[in-house]
């Protein structure tokens, strides 16, 4: 990180801390990397792609030393992780700023309709026709990529449909990816 960027980071950090309200960062997440060099590379990459991010010190819950983390728009986690992974800069972790110890949902609710199987992960539900492996419905969710993902996936087989990880952008897309993987796992048995 050059000195201008570093002092800019310190200044922005102070400005953020002076903002009123305790909820101002609830829509932000933190990317944790292996080392500071990766943080700087990721910062440059994400800024080049137009994301509003900032480098900051980690919250106490996940502090490991004199490390830095990147704060990012939490809702766009799926798209940001895809960008970083494509550029071989995957973070160690991505967590919410306000509650860094929270984990992504890992509980699946299954509904067996006989010929059809519905899997729900968090707020996203994916239903597949067991006989044909065709995705017949996607429901739930609230981010704008949910109707987009449904249009792209419904009517296609599990093998032919694009995965939410490939074309989704948001945490709802991420939840749908988990449901999609669980359906794949159950339908391949």
């Amino acid at each position: 990180m050059n000195s201008v960027a570093f002092f800019g980071f310190l200044k922005r950090n102070k400005e953020q801390d002076n903002l009123p309200g305790c909820d101002r960062r609830a829509d932000r997440g933190i990317l944790v990397f292996e080392n500071t060099s990766e943080v700087i590379q990721a910062e440059n990459l994400l800024k080049q792609h137009g994301w509003e991010i900032r480098v900051m010190g980690p919250p106490p819950e996940i502090r490991q030393g004199c490390d830095l983390v990147i704060e990012f728009p939490l809702i766009e986690e799926l798209q940001i992780l895809r960008t970083l992974t494509t550029e071989k800069l995957p973070p160690l972790r991505a967590v919410p700023v306000t509650s860094p110890l929270l984990q992504p949902v890992d509980i699946f609710h299954i509904k067996d309709y006989g010929r059809y199987l519905m899997v729900r992960a968090a707020n996203m539900k994916l239903t597949v026709d067991r006989e044909t492996s065709v995705i017949v419905n996607i429901s739930g969710g609230g981010c704008p990529d949910v109707p987009y993902l449904a249009a792209a996936m419904v009517g296609k087989t599990l093998a032919d449909a694009p995965s939410p990880r490939e074309i989704g952008h948001t945490l709802c897309g991420y939840a749908l990816q988990l449901a999609y993987e669980e359906v794949q796992r159950r339908c391949s048995v």
């Binding site: 929270l102 968090a122 707020n123 419905n137 704008p144 949910v146 449904a150 939840a175």
Partner: protein, 303 residues
């Protein structure tokens, strides 16, 4: 008049505003056409259909294309903060909009200046934004499903994706989740919880429950929650009080689903076309509906 704000899942769909009409399987707003599918299009299709039956004005919508990048949503927020002061809506329903706290707060700063204050309803991303920004109590109604209710109940979770497991395990305990959502001030004045059983609740607890007819396949069908939000929005805007509107909407949505004889593969458009028949059955006795040749007036206002 009812105002609906939301997104259409196409990057190139322009920012548009105007009254919405339904023409066959297509929504029309200005010169733009929209396929009726899940999301805000399904909400609007149900709302337009219900409004026509009840002889209410067609809903007015602010729409923009957004496939999840949030860019369209930002344009929508910006536009609404500029134009809402010049509009006059009795009811505003915010729907599939990217949850962005800064913009959500800006929008509410504008809505707070409106006199009289419109009734506020939020579903989907707008409900998430309301909770994330600590402004849930500014709303009159949220319409979560049970998974989203668990998110509202979890005071730590910034998005349903991060709802904690011990709360998700309690999803069969809807009353407890409702109480927890109110305890942490993450609920609107009323909650309409949609699921195997539909509930209307407020801070005192559950005040109405509708569980018939039962069509288990509806849970799998994308858009059934959107149509319920559209129905309750129209009924509230028509002058019904919250309790009557919610019960009528829950019954209408379930009945339309029943008439469609659904399977988990049924698409939402197949259900929307039964909404007129369902409304007539639910409201027929207390509300003159716009059936063929009937020129009587719409619902009498209850508030």
């Amino acid at each position: 008049m009812l105002c609906v704000a939301g997104t259409i899942p196409e990057d190139n769909f322009p920012l548009v505003e105007g009254e919405v009409k339904l023409s066959g399987d297509q929504l029309r707003i200005g010169i733009s056409t929209i396929a009726v599918n899940r999301g805000t299009a399904a909400l609007l299709a149900a709302a337009v259909t219900a409004a026509a039956v009840l002889r209410q004005p067609a809903p007015f919508a602010y729409l923009v294309g957004d496939t999840g990048t949030g860019k369209g949503s930002e344009r929508l927020y910006r536009n609404m903060t500029n134009v809402l002061t010049r509009a006059s809506f009795q009811t505003i329903t915010l729907h599939y909009i990217q949850p962005i706290i800064q913009w959500h707060k800006s929008l509410h700063a504008v809505i707070g200046t409106l006199i009289p204050r419109p009734r506020l309803i939020a579903d989907a991303g707008s409900m998430y934004a309301a909770k994330m920004s600590g402004e849930a109590s500014l709303y009159d109604l949220f319409t979560p499903d049970v998974g989203e209710l668990a998110f509202l109940a979890d005071e730590e979770a910034p998005h349903p994706f991060y709802t904690r497991g011990f709360i998700l395990h309690e999803e069969n305990r809807v009353p407890d989740l409702i109480a927890r959502a109110y305890k942490h001030r993450n609920a609107a004045r009323y909650l309409l919880v949609k699921g195997e059983k539909d509930y209307l609740a407020n801070e005192s607890g559950i005040i109405e429950m509708v569980n018939t007819p039962v069509e288990e396949a509806l849970e799998a069908i994308g858009g059934t929650g959107d149509t319920l939000t559209g129905l309750v929005s129209v009924l509230i805007d028509a002058g019904m009080n919250m309790q009557e509107a919610a019960v009528a909407a829950m019954r209408t949505n379930r009945l339309a689903g029943r008439y469609a004889q659904p399977t988990p593969a049924t698409q939402i458009g197949e259900i929307i076309r039964f909404i007129p028949q369902a409304i007539q059955e639910v409201l027929g006795e207390r509300c003159k509906v716009n059936t063929d040749g009937d020129t009587s007036t719409a619902c009498q206002k209850q508030e």
